[in-house]
Symmetry: C2
Amino acid sequence: MRSESPSLRKLITQLQSLPGIGYKSARRLAFYIIKLPISKVEELSAALVDAKRNLKLCSICFNLSDSDPCFICNDYSRDRTILCVVEQPQDIITVERTGEFKGLYHVLQGALSPMDGIGPDNLKMKELINRLVNSFFKEIILATDPNVEGEATAIYLMKLLKPLNFKVTRIAQGLSVGSDLEYADEVSLSIAFKDRLEW
Amino acid sequence: MRSESPSLRKLITQLQSLPGIGYKSARRLAFYIIKLPISKVEELSAALVDAKRNLKLCSICFNLSDSDPCFICNDYSRDRTILCVVEQPQDIITVERTGEFKGLYHVLQGALSPMDGIGPDNLKMKELINRLVNSFFKEIILATDPNVEGEATAIYLMKLLKPLNFKVTRIAQGLSVGSDLEYADEVSLSIAFKDRLEW
């Protein structure tokens, strides 16, 4: 049944193809966009294409950046003795927002997942090793996701890096800050007990 | 703190300006978009600007449409004796999707709201009256929202249209189909009792 104009239907269909946006959200967004001034719509439209066109992988750390090397690899005020290994470029943003880390990054572009046919050769692991050889790095922080694939990837890297005489660390797992013990999942709570710190 | 490349930050900011999209959703969408093929991103980008440029108000019913008159006013297979009055163009889509109504529409472009300074002159009411004079319409269905403003608008229109000898009807209010009596709000339940039908 035809209940929308072609331009409107096309816009709703396009918005609906984005993750987490169903038909009703897409419709609401479409009507919001139609009511915006044309200049605002053009800005949004240009931002989409510009981001896609301009962003490329940094040839050193594989972060997404307008420049190569990326703005982090290019920032000589950062600590070049400590490297944080993450799965995805978006993980860098998350870590940066904590303000907790001032070293450099290496993006694996995924995690080991034999079920999906993703082995070491499909990740930027060779590039990591090449980067570490003759580098100033002293500590490698493994900040892959705290799930099955991320944990397997961290263990794999730990076995690879330990013999090269780096200090290898893994980000802490346990209970979320501000959460209730009562509602904690059993696995996190087990880890919280196992990895308890002396005060 | 600078944790994203300029193009990426711009895209996230633009997406975040849309209703119902917070920083984390915007970031997720941005990374999804960057991974799409450029042709897909260009399609999405064009759909935004095209919808804004092509959609205009129908000069008869004030629906949003690529054409004027709109595709509904132009459809001579529809029943031209029955008119459904709604607040917004998006309400037409909602009604059309029920498949329950085959007449024509009139979009008021809002509802009476003295608090927001919206009176009859700010809505397409004069246009409605002009359209009804010497028309084939027999029944006018008032399908404004079942809230305070929509109800006030319906009552206002009823008083205006009744003396012109039209059959004026209001869409039914009551309990949502598939809902539980236990969780019904009191107002809907009161109306459900008051407007009960004889079986």
